[in-house]
């Protein structure tokens, strides 16, 4: 018997179900802690953490299996706002947010905070400009909106292309992250870890589509937020910053500024380069006052924000709420749940830096004798897997700031050990990272497979296909795309963060203006939208190629992470000019836009289509 046969009561019982789930997870953590005390090995704990959580997600996925179109594509449009907020937060926070963000702030200080601002503020655009209107539209996918608003298969096809380019770039990075974490927790080679990760991802999404992904993402959010907050709160408590460190780490920032002067951060530069690792060269809170640096900060913020508002796997989460009002409320909850992690990341980076710099702490490194540093447990452990390196360049037997190299992602992964926490916390962090990467990969794979099955197959190739056939096509595509993504991921072409930033740039280059203007500019028409998508994606891709591989000098500091600025500018100009040169949309389309703008009344598209 399926859990979902009592559907009404299932939704009413959600707080209870997830309450029990959270309680069960806490009991599991305590059990692991007890077993650790009884002598269970660190490796076994890691395997149990990752294995147990994936088993739970797969179970939820299996219980949520469905053969109904609206359940498969939009979870039956019955996900309450708060739960959809949690699911979106898990959908949103990827391996990069979980593993790489705090490390990035550790290494680059203020400049890296552009990602923190960019990956939160975008939700203001989602709530104000997009989500409620797309929900009123009643579409299954983002190209569904483009195709119906502007009319015609060509517009729909262009939207599918942009979606696939952006989401596929993103999903390879996520599968890469699941592979990295799985390989470390389960002690298998990276190439095996990638396929294992894919198996977990498909188990969550294949049988139940959006419905299964929704309920596993809520479960994954709970795991990842617990896994992120517990070590930070524990560590700050140990350092005397209390149990809500996020609000009081100002002292730590001030202390770091003093220590940075003492250790000559920014003056002593490394004499050699080590691939993938860096020594500290930038002061923590320092903001470069030059116009170029300020410009680079705000352009990165802009690309990430407008990209947020164009990424289909995020927008489609708001198609699952019962009403337009719930869609709007749900965006606010999404941002709240995301905020819990994002305002903790800078605190984590700050505490870790203090641990490394402060000579009064036993775990610190800088300014200490080389022999003493090499005897530290965490330094030994992480240098053995080549995540950090100490090089006594000037042979004085003391570790200087320019002689200590780390990989960025060590900050989250090694925090428990740096602060001397029990291994059970490291297992928890591995499970959290896995949840973050899997949930995002799930959402992305589903976005791609749904666009191909609904928009390309059903709407363009075979409009008479029966429900069962449509859903089988959707599932086959899910597997095919997952396999393709894993194959690309196992080649390790780009770093995780680079690929993630590119996905945002692709999405905003091609989709931002056609989506926004589709609601807010009634005059916008089909040729304009097509021009906007084609020129935007084309110009953005061309610029990326020229800057990244073609050897072109970036225009005014717009490097490969910021190519969305070029793409969006081209997209806006092309869309406005072409729209104004061609006749306005017909009266029927204009009436449709009027209907989209008010919450009242029926959706534009039928409940099942």
């Amino acid at each position: 018997m399926s859990l979902f046969e009592m559907r009404g009561s299932f939704i009413e019982n959600l707080p209870k179900i997830y309450g029990i789930y959270t309680g069960g997870f806490v009991v599991f953590i305590l059990l692991m802690a007890v077993l650790e005390q009884m002598g269970l090995g660190a490796d076994t704990i890691g395997i149990l953490f990752v294995g147990f959580t994936i088993f739970i997600y797969a179970l939820i996925g299996w219980l949520s299996r469905t053969m109904q179109v609206d359940a498969y594509y939009v979870a039956g449009r019955q996900v309450p706002a708060v739960f959809n907020g949690m699911a979106t937060a898990a959908d949103w926070m990827s391996g990069a947010s979980f593993v790489a963000m705090a490390g990035g702030i550790y290494a680059s200080g203020h400049a890296y905070l552009a990602f923190v601002v960019g990956w939160t503020g975008g939700y203001v655009l989602v709530a104000v400009l997009m989500a409620p209107y797309l929900r009123k539209f009643g579409c299954y996918t983002v190209p569904d909106f483009i195709g119906t608003r502007y009319g015609g298969n060509l517009a729909r096809f262009c939207a599918v292309v942009v979606l696939v380019v952006a989401s596929f770039t993103y999903v390879t990075a996520q599968i890469n992250a699941t592979g990295t974490i799985a390989s470390r927790a389960l002690h298998v080679p990276f190439e095996v870890g990638v396929w294992f990760g894919l198996l977990g991802i498909l188990l969550c999404s294949m049988l139940g589509g959006m419905r299964a992904v929704t309920w596993t993402q809520v479960a994954q959010y709970i795991v990842l937020i617990v896994a992120y907050l517990v070590p930070v709160i524990w560590m700050s408590n140990k350092q005397g910053f209390g149990i809500i460190p996020q609000f009081v780490y100002g002292d730590a920032v001030a202390k770091i500024a003093e220590l940075e002067a003492l250790h000559k951060v920014g003056e002593l530069l490394p004499v050699e380069k080590i691939a993938g690792m860096s020594a500290l060269t930038v002061k923590h809170a320092f903001a470069d006052g030059s116009a170029l640096k300020a410009w680079q900060f705000v352009t990165l913020v802009a690309c990430m924000m407008l990209g947020t508002a164009s990424l289909p796997h995020i927008l489609m989460r708001y198609f699952t709420t019962p009403s337009v009002r719930d869609a709007r409320t749900s965006v606010a909850w999404s941002l709240f749940f995301i905020f819990l992690l994002y305002f903790t990341a800078p605190a984590l980076a700050t505490f870790t830096k203090l641990q490394v710099l402060d000579p009064s702490l036993a775990t610190s490194v800088i300014g200490k004798p080389l022999a003493q540093v090499m005897a530290l447990d965490w330094v030994r452990q992480w240098s053995s897997v080549d995540f950090l390196r100490v090089v006594d360049a000037n042979k004085d037997g003391i570790v200087q700031i320019n002689e200590f190299f780390m990989r960025d992602d060590i900050v989250v992964l090694a925090t428990p050990e740096i602060a001397g926490l029990p291994y059970v916390i490291s297992g928890l962090v591995a499970a959290g990272g896995m949840a973050a990467a899997m949930s995002t990969a799930d959402g992305l794979l589903l976005a791609i497979a749904n666009a191909l099955s609904h928009d390309l197959y059903y709407k363009m190739i075979d409009p008479k296909a029966e429900t069962a056939r449509r859903l089988i096509v959707a599932r086959v595509l899910l597997v095919v795309i997952g396999v393709a993504g894993s194959a690309v991921a196992s080649m390790r072409l780009t770093g995780i963060l680079g690929a993630v930033a590119w996905a945002f740039d692709f999405a905003c280059s091609g989709l931002f203006f056609p989506l926004v203007l589709g609601v807010w500019w009634k005059r916008a028409n089909r040729p304009g939208a097509i021009a906007g998508m084609v020129v935007g994606l084309g110009a953005g891709s061309w610029y990326l190629y020229m800057v990244y591989a073609g050897g072109m000098v970036p225009w005014i500091g717009l490097d490969h992470l910021r190519f969305g600025i070029v793409g969006m500018a081209a997209s806006l100009i092309a869309m406005v000019v072409v729209t104004l040169l061609t006749p306005p949309p017909d009266a029927e389309t204009q009436a449709m836009v009027d209907e989209v703008r008010i919450p009242k009344g029926r959706a534009i598209l039928a409940a099942t289509h």
């Binding site: 203020h110 923190v116 920032v253 913020v301 905020f339």
Partner: protein, 87 residues
């Protein structure tokens, strides 16, 4: 379905005005504040340098609060103009 055209217009005018207000707030806390981060760093708030604080926490709090206020305001506009969904 017949909805009075003037009601629609009133609703959309208010919705658009609300959108502009929130876009201005968003613009200030997304871009303007961070453009002047170096200048703001000479002030301090809760012991943080202000420029760093705004990027690490300040702007984020503004966005979260802003969204809950926006939801409440837009909902009121929908209700007062008779454009809200039936419960």
């Amino acid at each position: 379905m017949s909805i009075d055209a003037s009601d629609r217009e009133r609703h959309w005018a208010r919705t658009r005005a609300l959108m502009i207000v929130h876009m201005v707030i968003w613009f200030i806390f997304s871009f303007v504040v961070h453009w002047f981060a170096s200048y703001l760093n000479q002030f301090s708030v809760f012991d943080f340098p202000l420029g760093f604080y705004m990027a690490a926490q300040g702007s984020l709090i503004v966005f979260v609060v802003q969204l809950f206020v926006f939801v409440w305001q837009q909902d009121r506009i929908d209700r007062e103009c008779g454009m809200a969904e039936e419960d």
